[in-house]
C-alpha cells in the first residue's frame, strides 16, 4: 500500500474519479498548471488535459456559479475555492444556487458539485485564510459538509463526494495537508458520507472532534490515560449529515462528553451536536456536555493564533470538569 499525506490522498481520489468518469472536471484559481497553491491538483492537468483541469479567472462567485451551470448539463465539477474565507464571495452560488437546485426544480436538476477549500488554523497565514466556516454550511439546507482528518479518510470521502449527486462542501485542514503520511489503498474505495469513526476507544468520557482537532483530542486522551482516565475519541468525518447514532452509542457507554472545534464557540457544529445529544441521550448523561472552542471573536492575528486555538490542556481541563461534575 502506498504511503500518502492528505493532499496526495485527495489528489489520488480526484485522479481515480477523473479516470473513471469523463464528466469529472476540476477548476479554480491556479488549479491547472501548478496544481493550486497547495499543489493538491498537481499533475492532473498534465494527465487529463487542460480541457478537464483548468485555471479560472479570479472570481469565486463565477467559479461556483459556473459549476452550477455545468452541473445541470451533466458535468461533475470539483471546484476549488482557494482559501476558506474566499467562500464569502461565493456564498450565494454555493449555499443558495447549488444547494437549492434540486428543491427548486423538484428533482429535475441537481448540483453534483464538490466545493473544495483549505481551512483551519495554526499556520500563521494572512487574514481570512484559516477560519472555520463549517457552521455556516451546516445551517444551509441542501449541502453536505465533510471534514476529513487523515489521508485514508480524505481519499475515501472525496471519492464519495464526487459521486454524490448533491453538492458537498469539502473542507481540507491545511495543517493536515503535509502533517503525516499514512497507508492509503490504491484505486477506488469509498467512505460513506455521514458515518463517524471511533478512533480511540475508552469508557470514562467521549471526546467528539473533527479535522485537526481529532489529533489534538487523541493526544489529550493519551495524556489522560496516564492519569487513569479512559477517553473515547470520535472523529465525525462528516458534519452534515451528522452521525448522531455513533455519538449516542458512545455516550451510553461513557455518560460524559465534550465537543472540540476550532470555530468560534457560539452556534457552531458543537452547539448542534450538543443539542442532538440533549434530544437523544439526556438520560444517559452524568454531566453537561461542554465545548472546547475558539472564543467569539474574529479569527485572530497570527501573533496569538496558538493561544486562541483549542489546546490539549484545554481539552484535558474540560474532561476533568465533566468528570468532576
Amino acid at each position: 500500500m502506498a504511503q500518502m499525506n492528505m493532499l496526495e490522498a485527495i489528489r489520488d481520489a480526484m485522479r481515480v474519479e477523473m479516470k473513471r468518469d469523463t464528466n469529472v472536471v476540476a477548476f479554480g484559481e491556479d488549479v491547472g498548471k501548478v496544481g493550486g497553491v497547495f499543489r493538491v491538483t498537481e499533475g492532473l492537468q498534465e494527465e487529463f488535459g487542460e480541457d478537464r483541469v483548468f485555471d479560472t479567472p479570479l472570481a469565486e462567485s463565477a467559479i461556483a456559479g459556473m459549476a452550477v451551470g455545468m452541473g445541470i448539463q451533466g458535468f461533475r465539477p470539483v471546484a476549488e475555492i482557494q482559501f476558506v474565507g474566499f467562500i464569502y464571495e461565493a456564498l450565494d452560488q454555493m449555499f443558495v444556487q447549488a444547494a437549492r437546485m434540486r428543491y427548486r426544480s423538484g428533482g429535475r436538476y441537481n448540483s453534483p458539485i464538490v466545493f473544495r477549500t483549505p481551512f483551519g488554523g495554526g499556520v500563521k497565514a494572512a487574514e481570512l485564510h484559516t477560519d472555520s466556516l463549517e457552521g455556516l454550511a451546516i445551517q444551509t439546507p441542501g449541502i453536505k459538509v465533510i471534514v476529513p482528518s487523515n489521508p485514508y479518510d480524505a481519499k475515501g470521502l472525496m471519492i464519495s463526494a464526487i459521486r454524490d449527486n448533491d453538492p458537498v462542501f469539502f473542507m481540507e485542514h491545511l495543517n493536515l495537508y503535509r502533517a503525516f503520511r499514512a497507508e492509503v489503498p490504491e484505486g477506488e474505495y469509498t467512505i460513506e458520507i455521514g458515518k463517524a469513526n471511533v478512533v480511540r476507544e475508552g469508557k470514562d468520557v467521549t471526546i467528539i472532534a473533527y479535522g485537526l482537532m481529532v489529533h489534538t483530542a487523541v493526544k489529550a486522551a493519551e495524556e489522560l490515560e496516564k492519569q487513569g482516565v479512559s477517553a473515547e475519541v470520535i472523529d465525525l468525518r462528516t458534519l452534515l449529515p451528522l452521525d448522531i447514532d455513533t455519538i449516542v452509542a458512545s455516550i451510553k457507554k461513557t455518560n460524559r462528553a465534550i465537543v472540540v472545534q476550532e470555530a468560534q464557540k457560539t452556534s457552531g457544529a458543537a452547539a448542534e451536536i450538543i443539542t442532538q445529544i440533549n434530544e437523544k441521550a439526556i438520560l444517559h448523561l452524568e454531566a453537561p456536555v461542554l465545548r472546547v472552542a475558539g472564543p467569539d471573536t474574529v479569527y485572530p492575528f497570527a501573533q496569538i493564533e496558538d493561544a486562541w486555538l483549542p489546546t490539549q490542556a484545554r481539552i484535558i481541563a474540560a474532561v476533568n470538569k465533566v468528570r468532576e461534575f
Binding site: A59, A62, A64, G65, G69, Q73, Q93, R102, R108, D245
Partner: protein, 359 residues
C-alpha cells in the same frame, strides 16, 4: 521609437452606440438590409405569441389581484424583447431567465400551468419537463448569468452546437455576477448570449442612477466580448440581433452582450406603484412605441394580419389562461414531507426523522 510610442493613445476611447432597428414606430422598414429572413408563417407566429403574451399578462395581473396567483412580474411592453429573442433560438438552446422572463421559458416549452404553479409557490412549477431546455426563473438578481456561463462552458466542452441565453435588467447589469459572467465568457470564448432588457428602472431606481457607462452594451468592451444595442420595442431588430449572436456562438466566435432598450408598461410587480417614480408623459411616450402596434402595422401592410386576427388570438389566450389556471389550482397541494424529500437525492436520517413532526 520612443517618440512614436508617445503618440500612441494611452487613454481608452469609446464610441457612442445607437440601437439597431428594423421597423419605424409606424411599422415601416427603415433598414431593409437588416430585415431578418423570416417566412410569412414565422412572422405571423411571432405576432401570435406577442398578442397571446399581452393577453396572458393582462389576465395574470387580474388573477394576481384575485389572489389566484402569487408573485407576478408584469411583462407588457417587453414582448418584442422577450418573444423576439426566444424565437431566434433553437429548441436545444438553453434559457436561464430572471424573474420577469416567464414568456421566454413558456414559449421555449414550459407548460403554462406550471408557470402559474411557480407563481403560486408550488414546487411543480420548477419541475421543468424533460427535453425543455430552461431553468426556472431566478430571484437573486444576476445569479442566472453565471449559470448560463456554466451551461455554455458545458456545451463548448461537449462540442455541441448549442448556445445558452440569459436575461437580466438594467439593474442586474450592476451586479458583480454580471461582470464575472461576462469576463469568464470572454476568457473562455463561450457560446452564450447575455440579454439585458433595459426598461429604464430597477424597480424604482432610474437607469440614470444605475451606471455612468455610455451604455450597458459598452460593458462588453471590458470583457472582450461583442456588445450590441437594440431597439427592444422592435421585434424584428431583436430577432436579428439574437440570431446573429446565436450563430456566432455556434460558430465558436464567443459571447454577445445585447442591450435591449425597452419599457414595462405596468409596475414592477403587483405590489409596486409606478406613479411614484414615473411620469404619465413618459409612460404615454413609450406606449406610442408599443411593440404590438408597430409589428402589427408592419404585418397589416403585408396583408398578413388583421384586427380580427388579434381578437381571435386574444380569445384563444383567455381560454388558455383559464384552462391553465384551473389546472394549476387543481394540482395536488405540496406536503412538508414531500418538500423534505426534495432536499437530497437520498433523504438523510435526520431529515427523515423531522418528517414525523408534520404527519
Amino acid at each position: 521609437m520612443s517618440k512614436l510610442l508617445s503618440k500612441l493613445p494611452y487613454e481608452v476611447q469609446t464610441e457612442p452606440v445607437y440601437p439597431l432597428s428594423v421597423l419605424s414606430p409606424e411599422g415601416e422598414v427603415v433598414n431593409p438590409d437588416l430585415l431578418p429572413n423570416l417566412s410569412d408563417d414565422q412572422l405571423k407566429e411571432i405576432m401570435y405569441r406577442m398578442v397571446f403574451t399581452r393577453t396572458w399578462d393582462e389576465r395574470a395581473v387580474n388573477l394576481g389581484r384575485q389572489g389566484r396567483l402569487g408573485f407576478y412580474a408584469p411583462v407588457s411592453g417587453q414582448e418584442a424583447s422577450m418573444i423576439g429573442s426566444e424565437y431566434a433560438l433553437n429548441k436545444e438552446d438553453f434559457v436561464c431567465p430572471g424573474y420577469r422572463d416567464m414568456p421566454q421559458i413558456v414559449w421555449h416549452g414550459l407548460p403554462l400551468y406550471q408557470a402559474f404553479l411557480y407563481s403560486r409557490g408550488h414546487q411543480h412549477g420548477g419541475q421543468i419537463p424533460e427535453g425543455v431546455n430552461v431553468l426556472m426563473p431566478q430571484i437573486i438578481i444576476g445569479a442566472q448569468i453565471l449559470h448560463a456561463t456554466g451551461v455554455a462552458m458545458a456545451f463548448k466542452k461537449k462540442n455541441e452546437k448549442r448556445v445558452a441565453i440569459t436575461y437580466t435588467g438594467d439593474g442586474g447589469s450592476s451586479e458583480g455576477d454580471f461582470y464575472e459572467g461576462l469576463n469568464f465568457a470572454g476568457a473562455y470564448k463561450l457560446p452564450v448570449i447575455y440579454c439585458v432588457q433595459n426598461n429604464g428602472y430597477a424597480i424604482t431606481t432610474p437607469y440614470a442612477k444605475q451606471t455612468a457607462a455610455p451604455s450597458i452594451a459598452h460593458k462588453a468592451i471590458a470583457a472582450g466580448i461583442k456588445g450590441v444595442q437594440v431597439d427592444g420595442m422592435d421585434v424584428l431588430a431583436v430577432y436579428k440581433a439574437v440570431s446573429e449572436a446565436a450563430e456566432r456562438g455556434r460558430n465558436g466566435e464567443g459571447a454577445t452582450l445585447i442591450e435591449l432598450i425597452t419599457y414595462r408598461f405596468r409596475p414592477h410587480s403587483l405590489a409596486d406603484d409606478a406613479t411614484k417614480y414615473r411620469t404619465k408623459d413618459e409612460e404615454s411616450e413609450w406606449m406610442e412605441k408599443d411593440p404590438l402596434i408597430r409589428f402589427g402595422k408592419f404585418l397589416e401592410k403585408k396583408g398578413l394580419w388583421t384586427e380580427e386576427d388579434t381578437n381571435r388570438v386574444k380569445e384563444e389566450a383567455k381560454a388558455a389562461v383559464n384552462d391553465n389556471i384551473k389546472k394549476a389550482e387543481a394540482t395536488e397541494k405540496m406536503t412538508v414531507s414531500g418538500l423534505i424529500d426534495s432536499m437530497f437525492e437520498h433523504t438523510p436520517a435526520h431529515l427523515e426523522e423531522q418528517k414525523a413532526d408534520f404527519q
